[in-house]
Symmetry: C2
Subunit: 406 residues, 2 copies
């Protein structure tokens, strides 16, 4: 447990240690490590006494305004860095020289933690895909014939990925023509929604033309960040045939300011749900390919859903193998997300589309008001926690966003 005041037993103890980018007192943004309710100025501490482990130049890469240079170093450097952080923040002999570089969280500005290279969004929850299929295509099969054979995904807009706390302006766009109308509807989206997801952050690139096997997941992927894939369902429903979602998604995607390394999720690894039919060979993974991460979706402070990541059908290692099976290369900063996390129960659905069944079944808040989609001024918070190796839980950071008018 950490010697840092308030960290021991919290969601941000030594078994977590996520990375972000912060600025403080008018200085340039640089890498920070969260411990309790403090941010450790990582490069300032690493600069003492040379680089840890005689290896990676951590003081240098941590002085940069994004995690990308650190992410590019690879697994061995990530492990050295983590061991060193556990020593520095766990052994109180380091307190005297380190305490001055701990800044209270409420005094820093948190920035987008990495430069997003390509952003891919998957569709890996069988419950979510089934719900959406039933709502959007009530006369057809809920799951398309390909769904159980491959993790369906598509590219999203990397340039509009924003850090938690960034306001989200209600998008304007076209929707289906109304009954008897020849022209499409046009105006502010009336079916603005969230998608509670988990994002995976790629550190180590690959070569174009080569495949990355599922077994190399932890060599390429550095860590995870909760993600809210804001979605305008009316825009999406009109535009998505035949080339997929575009403006219904591209206006904003929010991520946590914190990227939690895979190493912090060792105690959260669980078996995947059974996959039937057995996937093709390049998509096979072993035991404990899933993650037990518990989500809470809060609307204006009230929990409206508790999506369970452990229910996801496709694992992130399978998504990675699929993403690259055609020779598509990875770059440092690539972000790929799980798709909406939904469980079997109604109160485990990770979107308002599902919670309100396409708007046809409003759900009640504690104030008695019936809700379907997002209203101006609504604030969404995604919280995600997982078992930590110290026996408690670790926090993956919150993803918040408030809707501003068009």
């Amino acid at each position: 447990m950490s010697w840092v005041t308030g960290a021991a037993g919290s969601l941000f103890d030594l078994d977590n240690l996520p990375y972000g980018v912060f600025s403080y007192a008018g200085q340039e943004p640089r890498v920070g490590v969260r411990i309790g309710d403090f941010v450790m100025d990582a490069s300032a501490v690493a600069a003492y006494g040379g680089d840890p482990g005689d290896g990676p130049h951590l003081a240098e890469v941590w002085s940069r305004p994004s995690l990308n240079p650190f992410l590019a170093l690879g697994r061995e450097a990530w492990d050295i860095a983590r061991d060193w952080l556990i020593e520095v923040l766990g052994n109180d002999v380091h307190e005297p020289r380190t305490a001055a570089h701990l800044i209270p969280l409420d005094r820093v500005t948190l920035h987008l933690p990495f430069e997003v290279a390509d952003y891919v969004d998957f569709y890996a929850s069988v419950q979510h895909a089934t719900n959406v299929g039933r709502i959007f295509r009530p006369d057809g099969e809920a799951l398309t014939p390909n769904w159980r054979h491959l993790p369906i995904g598509y590219h999203g807009r990397a340039g509009t990925v924003v850090v938690s706390g960034t306001p989200v302006r209600r998008p304007v766009g076209q929707g289906r023509p109304g009954a008897g109308e020849a022209r499409p509807a046009f105006g502010p989206s009336r079916r603005l929604d969230i998608e509670a997801e988990l994002g995976f952050v790629v550190g180590v690139p690959s070569t174009q033309g080569d495949r990355v096997p599922a077994s190399a997941f932890a060599d390429h992927v550095f860590g995870v960040t909760p993600l809210n894939d804001w979605s305008a369902r009316d825009i999406q429903a009109w535009e998505y045939v035949p080339l997929g979602p575009f403006l219904g998604k591209s206006f904003a995607t929010s991520i946590s300011p914190w990227v939690t390394p895979l190493a912090a999720l060792e105690a959260a690894r669980v078996d995947l749900p059974a996959q039937d039919p057995e996937p093709l060979e390049y998509l096979r993974v072993g035991e404990r390919a899933g993650f037990d991460i518990a989500y809470e979706v809060l609307l204006n402070g009230e929990v409206v859903s508790r999506p369970p990541y452990a229910a996801m059908y496709w694992s992130p290692a399978q998504m990675l193998a699929h993403l690259t099976v055609n020779g598509a290369s990875l770059r440092t900063g690539d972000l790929y997300a799980s798709g909406t996390i939904s469980g079997d129960e109604r109160d485990q659905r990770g979107s308002f589309l599902e919670l309100s069944w396409g708007g046809s079944e409003p759900f009640a808040l504690s104030d008695g008001r019936a809700r379907t989609f997002l209203e101006d001024g609504d604030e969404i918070v995604l919280r995600a926690t997982a078992p930590g190796v110290l026996g408690g839980r670790i926090g993956l950071g919150e993803v918040t966003g408030k809707i501003s008018p068009s």
Copy 2:
């Protein structure tokens, strides 16, 4: 006309002056301007006597290994730069000090000319969309109900955009299960294809939440580059419902090494074909919103198609307005492409999918061999030319790619 040997009257005379990134003799890559069959080392020439026009620091931005810093300067700087280039390469008083910085094209290496931020691919040819609809969905309407109301688009993979000349490895992936088979097909794509397109390169960014009107097209878009959106039709056909193309496209997209500024296309501007129904207000454009650019598609040196860009239904200004109508922001280096260019005639189709009608109508080459999709070792060249302001034609650079085995 230019004093540079061989440039006058060529496809790369003073009315063209496209920009690229080259390296030579082991030096770092930097910006070059093509004139005739030479590359002018732009920063070396700009460094004489201060910056042109007392304005932009062209010697500095042109010393960089990508066009992005120059692209970010904006319209006024682009115009100053062009006027200066026309003076330097058009007035032979500049020959003595400039000639030493002209390097024969066959002695340089050409690089990807800009760092691609987000890549969006549209679907703007009514002939192409109709052909594909008939081939992929023979029992339904060829055009989806949204097609004439908005320029359909989707995000592609920015990280696999490569410069002309880069070999393209045949992708591996899943296809539909064969007749009587429960499991998907898996292996090297058997329906590897091209898409002859035009790419638009964004220079000036926009703010997230704001729209970019169609009228601001030339304030944000710097120029154009021909583009080959390589496509694996068997992978695409199996994966694309419901979220659109993914691995069928993401393995490679090739662009010309040259980005031709919009200013060079003034004589190529033409009216769009009639749009019926009239688009919504944010998608309205005036006269001369189209471009008369003639393509040739060569397979192993033989012209197999001549797609006419002038036939495109949606203009690039409309694509830009649509891309941002929801508040999605632009970044310097964003690339958006037209989608396959196909004309009314069979020999104007910009993909082998259409030329061979889904493989069912092989077309003959001059050696008598019947062809459908790409074979290993095939080399594709896209050539594009347009009327120039000097009365001749300008070249947009070639996009070449050779298929290597899986």
